[in-house]
Amino acid sequence: MKKMILKTMILLLGLVVLASCGSNTQSEGSEAAKVAETHPLGQASVSDDVSAKNILQVAIGSDAHSTLVAAVQAAEIEHVLVNAGPLTVFAPVNDAFAALPEGTVENLLKPENKQALATILTRHAAPGSFNVEGLKKEARKGRKIYMATGDYLEVEVDGEEITVGGAKVLATIQTSNGIINVVDKVILPN
Amino acid sequence: MKKSKVIMIVGALLLGGLFFLPMWNITLEAPQYPEPIGMDIYINKFADAHPNDIKNINIMNHYVGMKDIPEVIPEFEIFPYFAGGMMILGVILGLVGKRKLYLGWFTLMVILGSIAMYDFYLWEYEYGHDLKETAAIKFTDKDGEPMAYQPPLIGNKMILNFKALSWPRSGAYLMFLGMAMSVFAFYRDKKESNE
């Protein structure tokens, strides 16, 4: 009987020791978690309703870009679109995504395809400011636009119509950290 | 030569250390001095334990009206003669080789040493009590008397937030060893005579 008590006590002691160890590990985890929790999206988590709207905020406010915004969120690259820039984003409207072969968007939105999705979206961003005038100038000088992925997109001008990498520019919006050129197509790799 | 004679002569010669090693040291420790400040006392001078220590002790002490540590004191004139004289006397006694004279030398050393310590005490008393009337800061002890800043004769003592340490240094330790050797020589000679 005595032995039993002794053994139980040893076991209990062991549990206490382990538990205290466990709580240490937990506190470390929670500290790291705290950082992630307060700023899960990096700079995109900064709450600021005074500054002029940035590319991400403008896109979120646009009904025509709900698919794009969902894709950006799925790829977790929000912070790129709030960066100091200047950036030019060629933002495909919802219809452009809808025009892709059936199932493409759904497939890309799956967590396991996060990286592929990020690459596709990044191909729509260029360092620098290219508004309509800027795009026309690039076309006039025969220069291609260098995209954040390293691809080059050709700019073509036909009268008032401008296309970039085959996608037609529908509208241009100036934001605090760059320019959104609304386009009618998703720009896929050649 | 008899071993006792050698021991007596070597013991007396150890007094020679007083001419180049410090005899005594007073050190002050306080939180604002990560490296304590202190003063080494030789038979003929006061010296910084680290560069500028005496200057910094003086700067600190002048606020409570203490006088600067003097650069020379009269004792520095006569101490070397006593030390040198006792050393030569000890060697001569050793060569003479009468063991009772060894004890006599030892006794004389004790008497002279006591006089030196008394003199040291008087100087410390003077240094710690004779404060300038114009002192910027005047502390009183719990009886309302002006506070004294006398360092201990030997040992450690707290003075305000300073810990004052007063201890012999290598020169004095060699002297003590020499004195002990004179006593040892006395017994050794006794043993050698019996054999």
């Binding site: 053994k7 062991g14 700079q43 900064v46 960066n83 620098g128 | 700067i59």
Partner: protein, 653 residues
């Protein structure tokens, strides 16, 4: 059976004790072993940090000294901007430090600190830093933490690819950002192409004293030279510079300098340049640039105007420079600890390029060139590239190394630090920064011997990271523990100015060399007085020199009469203290200059122009002692035509 049970029992107990023991170890130990982030950056009161961090002050023009891992700020060393706190640029002794060929320049933009090296390892002697705007290089002593020397760079403009120290501190190298007419002349800006040139300066360092000398400049094509790092090990003797605007555009560079698919890393063989100099293959060009030196013995700075500079034209001497094609306006140019890999970060690219020094030498030997620029051979990209870190992030800027075969690169646009492996070029880990990181620093991270325990990321934007301070916000440094497989963000702390680059060193390299005070007997200042008996006031026409001393807790003299309106009064003040950390200050009412802050054993001077009659006080500005508040004095100022005799005293004597 019983014995068996006993053994099991003991084993169980022992293992529990072991667990308990290991648990304690994790918890009690602080530093990087501590198990909470707070413990890992906590340096207990009285304890010292493990590393010094020297962080550029950016547009403050200064250099800030932090402790790592605590992030505590110890000192802002004034370098290129005046600093009233330390009388830098205000005292007569330091005014010459800010002299240039344009006159006194009281401000600059400091960018890239770099530490002296011996055998490719940081040695704790000096820190160098560049002034970007009015091109200069400064040398800061790491025993006094004071700026000792500043040299101006002629023919340079926007001194950005600077200041980088070669493996044995032979040179500190500085490259121009802007290409300009060399020599400067009045010409149309549109004639830029082919006519503007870029100057790369090689400043030698005297090993005993640290004294700098502009040995020679290499005149390069009219590109922009962005950043640089020296070769080390096998590549010792080479210096690598990133270039952009190889288009040689002179307007709207954000577009026009981003056209070429590849710009260059310029590899300069400076051993070859030394040979050319020795053979007399250079041109001596008349020039004008200031060389300012602070002498620790006289405690005075002097400024000398130099009159000429040796120039080597890179286009004329084969074997001096080769161009390594590197994608998309490379910014950072970093060399790994072995000296084999030269990393170019195309700031508009998503990938990083690593060139191989071995392959480069091979291509040069076999003369496998792919054209030339103004006669300078261009190597073939495919011949020299060692590897590419694909799609590592967006907007790569700078890379440092941990000495364990890993590299760490900052990405501005995607706001992160990415850890990758040298040789396999695979991404190992990524950590976000808050926000928009520029440079990063690992102590010794650009030497042969990195101390790969901590990394600091130097961020450009803080937004909501700290308590807000109106529109202008602090910038920040973020500390990561990189000792494990994964980077761990431990803390962040605000920095002064804008932190560009930084340099770090183990405290043990620098702490033992600290000067604690200036020895009075070694003070050779021409206006020093070493004891109160020699204090005095002398008049020479309208110029009055007051030779004053300070010691706890008084000035000598502290009553001065016979000064007249319109005099120019020099206060030469010597601090007689010889005790660590007992400076005295002095400030005079209405003086059109700063206080003085005088270290023990030091002499400093300020000038006062009394404008009004009256009795005007001065006082000690540094809380020196219990009777600091009593440390004060008066100067009586009389009318210009008065007969009040010159008189000075302390306590009536």
């Amino acid at each position: 059976m019983n014995t068996y049970k006993k053994i099991v029992g003991y084993a169980l107990t022992l293992s529990l004790l072991f667990i308990a023991g290991s648990c304690n170890q994790g918890g009690g130990n602080g530093g990087a072993l501590g198990d909470s982030n707070a413990e890992r950056v906590y340096v207990a009161p009285g304890e010292h940090d493990e590393y010094y961090g020297f962080v550029s002050g950016g547009f403050s023009g200064q250099l800030a000294v932090y402790g790592l891992p605590s992030g505590r700020l110890f000192k802002v060393i004034p370098v290129f901007s005046v600093d009233g706190e330390k009388a830098y640029g205000f005292s007569e002794e330091t005014k010459p430090m800010l002299e240039t060929s344009f006159g006194t320049v009281p401000w600059d933009d400091s960018h890239h600190p770099d530490l002296s090296q011996t055998n490719g390892e940081i040695d704790g002697r000096w820190c160098f830093i560049n002034a970007n705007n009015t091109p200069r290089i400064a040398r800061i002593s790491l025993s006094t933490f004071e700026t000792e020397e500043i040299i101006e760079l002629p023919n340079s403009a926007g001194n950005h690819s600077s200041s980088f120290v070669t493996e044995n501190s032979e040179y500190v190298v500085a490259g121009t950002r802007f290409s300009v007419p060399i020599p400067q002349r009045d010409m149309p800006i549109d004639d830029y192409k082919g006519n503007f040139k870029g100057a790369i300066s090689f400043i030698s360092i005297a090993q005993e004293t640290g004294r700098m000398n502009l040995d020679f400049q290499i005149k390069m094509p009219g590109f922009d030279y962005d950043l640089a790092h020296p070769g080390r090990g096998a590549s010792h003797g080479w210096m690598f510079f990133t270039t952009y605007n190889t288009e040689e555009a002179n307007t709207l560079l954000e577009v026009n300098a981003s056209q070429n698919d590849k710009d260059f890393i310029a590899a300069i063989n400076w051993k070859k340049a030394e040979e050319l100099i020795a053979n007399g293959d250079f041109e001596t060009m008349p020039s004008e640039y200031a060389h300012n030196v602070y002498d620790e013995s006289t405690q005075m700075a002097t400024s000398t105007m130099k009159k000429e500079v040796k120039i080597i034209d890179a286009t004329k001497y084969p074997g001096l420079v080769y161009l390594l094609p590197t994608p998309k306006s490379p910014h950072g140019c970093d060399v790994d600890p072995s000296g084999e890999f030269i990393i170019g970060s195309g700031k508009l690219s998503a990938s990083l390029t690593a060139h191989s020094f071995t392959k480069m030498m091979d291509a040069i030997e076999n003369e496998k060139f792919d054209g030339d620029a103004y006669g300078i051979p261009i190597l073939n990209y495919d011949d020299i590239v060692a590897g590419v870190v694909q799609q590592a992030g967006l907007g790569p800027l700078h890379t440092e190394f941990d000495g364990r075969g890993n590299a760490y690169t900052t990405f501005f646009i995607s706001s992160e630090v990415v850890k990758w492996k040298l040789g396999t070029w695979e991404v190992l880990d990524r950590a976000p920064t808050y926000y928009s990181v520029g440079h990063l620093m690992i102590p010794g991270g650009n030497s042969r011997k990195p101390y790969g325990k901590y990394l600091i990321a130097l961020n450009k934007i803080t937004k909501d990271r700290y308590l807000p301070t109106g529109p202008e916000l602090a910038q920040s440094a973020q500390l990561y523990d990189i000792s494990g497989d994964k980077m761990q963000l431990l803390s962040d702390f605000p920095t002064i100015g804008e932190p560009h680059y930084a340099a770090g060193a183990p405290a043990s390299l620098i702490k033992p060399n600290q000067l604690k005070l200036y020895k009075l007997e070694e003070n050779n200042h021409p206006h020093a007085v070493k004891n109160e008996k020699d204090t005095r006031v002398e008049r020479n026409g309208t110029e009055v020199h007051i030779y004053m001393t300070t010691i706890r807790s008084h000035f000598a003299p502290d009553n001065i009469e016979g000064i007249k309106v319109g005099d120019k009064v020099y206060f030469h003040v010597t601090n007689l203290e010889q005790d660590y950390d007992v400076p005295h200050g002095i400030a005079m009412i209405g003086a059109n200059t700063s206080e003085l802050l005088i270290m023990p054993g030091q002499t400093e001077t300020f000038v006062w122009n009394p404008k009004k009659e009256g009795v005007w006080p001065f006082y000690c500005t540094d809380f020196c002692s219990a009777l600091h508040q009593e440390m004060q004095g008066y100067v009586r100022v009389s009318a210009r035509n008065s007969n009040v005799p010159l008189k000075w005293s302390l306590d009536g004597e």
